[in-house]
Subunit: 249 residues, 2 copies
C-alpha cells in the first residue's frame, strides 16, 4: 500500500513559546513574521514540520534557526487545532515551550531574523491564536514550577537566592517569606553555595549558588513545595504529560 486513500492531509506547524527572565521580569521572545498573511506582525518562533523530522526535532531546528540556541529546556505542550486558526489553510499548531537563560541568549544571538524580547506583562498583539499558546504556557509553567524545580532553567549558571526568590514571586505575583523560602530550597540540596558574592545589587553582597546537577535531576521527579500551598493559583488545573525532556541539539 502506498498511502491511505480518501483522507485529508494537512500542514503541521511547530510554534515555540520561548521564555526568559532578566532578573526582574519574565520575557517572551517574538519575531516578525516573514511571509504573508500577517507578514511583519509579531509571532512566536514557528515553522512547518518537515517530512523527515519528528516534532521534537522540528522544535529544536526552529529554535536554533531563529535564535542560534541549542540544548535548551523544551517541552511539547499542546496541539491547537481549530479548523480556521490559520486563515490560509488548515494548519495544526503544535506548541512547544522553552525556558532559556536570557544572558546565554544574548551571547549566541542570531539576529538575522531579529527576534525581540517583550515583557510578558506588555505583549504586542500576536498573530492567529498565539496569545492562547502563551497563556497556556504560563498556566503550565505556574503549575509545574509549584511542584518541580523547573525555574532554574531560566537562571544563569551562578545565581543568588534573592534572584531565585524574585523569579518565583514574579511567576505567581505574590510575596514570599525569604526565611521560609531559603530553608525550603536549601533543604532539598539541589543548589550549593559558592565562596563568591554578587555585589551588583547590594553593598553586603549575596552569595552565588550553582545547581547540583545530580541532585537536580534526582529531585526533578519529586513533588516539591517551594510555593506556600495556598498560593498555588486556583486557575492552574491538573493535567500533564511527563516529558520533561532536555532536548539535545
Amino acid at each position: 500500500m502506498i498511502e491511505y486513500s480518501n483522507q485529508t492531509r494537512m500542514l503541521v506547524s511547530v510554534d515555540c513559546v520561548v521564555i526568559g527572565f532578566d532578573g526582574e521580569d519574565y520575557k517572551l521572545l517574538l519575531i516578525q513574521r516573514g511571509f504573508e498573511p500577517e507578514k511583519d506582525k509579531w509571532s512566536l518562533m514557528g515553522g512547518f514540520l518537515q517530512p523527515s523530522e519528528s516534532l521534537d526535532e522540528a522544535a529544536q531546528r526552529i529554535l536554533f534557526e531563529l535564535t542560534g540556541l541549542r540544548n535548551v529546556y523544551m517541552e511539547q505542550l499542546h496541539a491547537f487545532s481549530h479548523p480556521n486558526r490559520d486563515p490560509v489553510e488548515r494548519v495544526i499548531g503544535m506548541t512547544y515551550f522553552a525556558l532559556i537563560d536570557i544572558k546565554q541568549y544574548a551571547k549566541q544571538l542570531c539576529d538575522h531574523f531579529q527576534p525581540n524580547w517583550f515583557k510578558m506583562k506588555s505583549l504586542p498583539a500576536l498573530i492567529f491564536d498565539h496569545q492562547n499558546m502563551v497563556d497556556l504556557t504560563l498556566k503550565q509553567l505556574r503549575y509545574k514550577a509549584a511542584l518541580h524545580p523547573i525555574l532554574f532553567e531560566l537562571l544563569p549558571k551562578k545565581f543568588t537566592l534573592p534572584q531565585l526568590q524574585i523569579l518565583y514571586e514574579g511567576l505567581y505575583d505574590i510575596p514570599i517569606d525569604k526565611r521560609n523560602f531559603s530553608r525550603k530550597v536549601l533543604s532539598t540540596g539541589i543548589i550549593s553555595r559558592k565562596q563568591e558574592k554578587d555585589k551588583s545589587k547590594s553593598k553586603k553582597g549575596a552569595y552565588f549558588y550553582t545547581l547540583n546537577q545530580e541532585s537536580y535531576h534526582a529531585q526533578f521527579q519529586r513533588v516539591l513545595n517551594f510555593i506556600p500551598k495556598n498560593e498555588i493559583p486556583p486557575s492552574v488545573e491538573s493535567d500533564q504529560k511527563d516529558r520533561a525532556v532536555l532536548l539535545e541539539g
Copy 2:
C-alpha cells in the same frame, strides 16, 4: 493567498487510550484494526482528523463511533511524530486518553466494531507505537492521580471506600493503610456517604459514597495527597498541560 507553497501536508490521526476499572483490574479498550496494513491486529481506538473538526472533536467522534460513549473524561496527551511510525505514510499520532466507568460502557456498548477489554497487565501486541501511547498514559495517570482526584472518573456513581482504595492501590501497585486513606479522602469533602451499603463483597457491607460535584470541581485544581509521598513513583516525571476538560459530546 490560497495556500502555503512548498510545504508538505500530512495525515493526522487521533488515538484514544480508553481506560476502565472493573473493581479489580485496570482495563484497556482495544479494537481490531479494520483496514490494511496490520488489519485485524489490536489497536487503540483511532481515526483520521477530518477537515472540519478540531482534535478534541475528532477524539469525541472517534470514541463515540467506536464505543457509543459520550460525555467522558478525556485529555489530549501527546503527539507522536516519528516519521516512520506508520509504515504506509507520514501520520502524526495525537494521543488522547479517556477514563470511563466500565459498567456504564457495558450498557451503551456499540459492538459493531467489537472492541474488547484487556487487563492492563496482560495486553496483546499492539500496532505501530500504540504501546508507547499506553505507557505514557499510565505514567501520566499515575502522576496526575497522585495530585488530583481524577480516578473517580473510573468509578460508578455509587462506590465504596474499599473500592476506591483498591483503585489507588492498583494504580501504584502498593498497599495503602485504610485508616489514613479514608481520613485523607473524607477530609477533602469531595464524597458523601449514603445510607445504603454494598453487601456484595462482605457480610457487614460497606457504605456507598457519591461524589459531591461542586466540591469535586473545586478540589480538582488543588494539590491533594492521597498517596503517601514516598510512594509517588519516581518514574513519574513532571510535565503537564492543564486541560482537564470534560469534553461535552
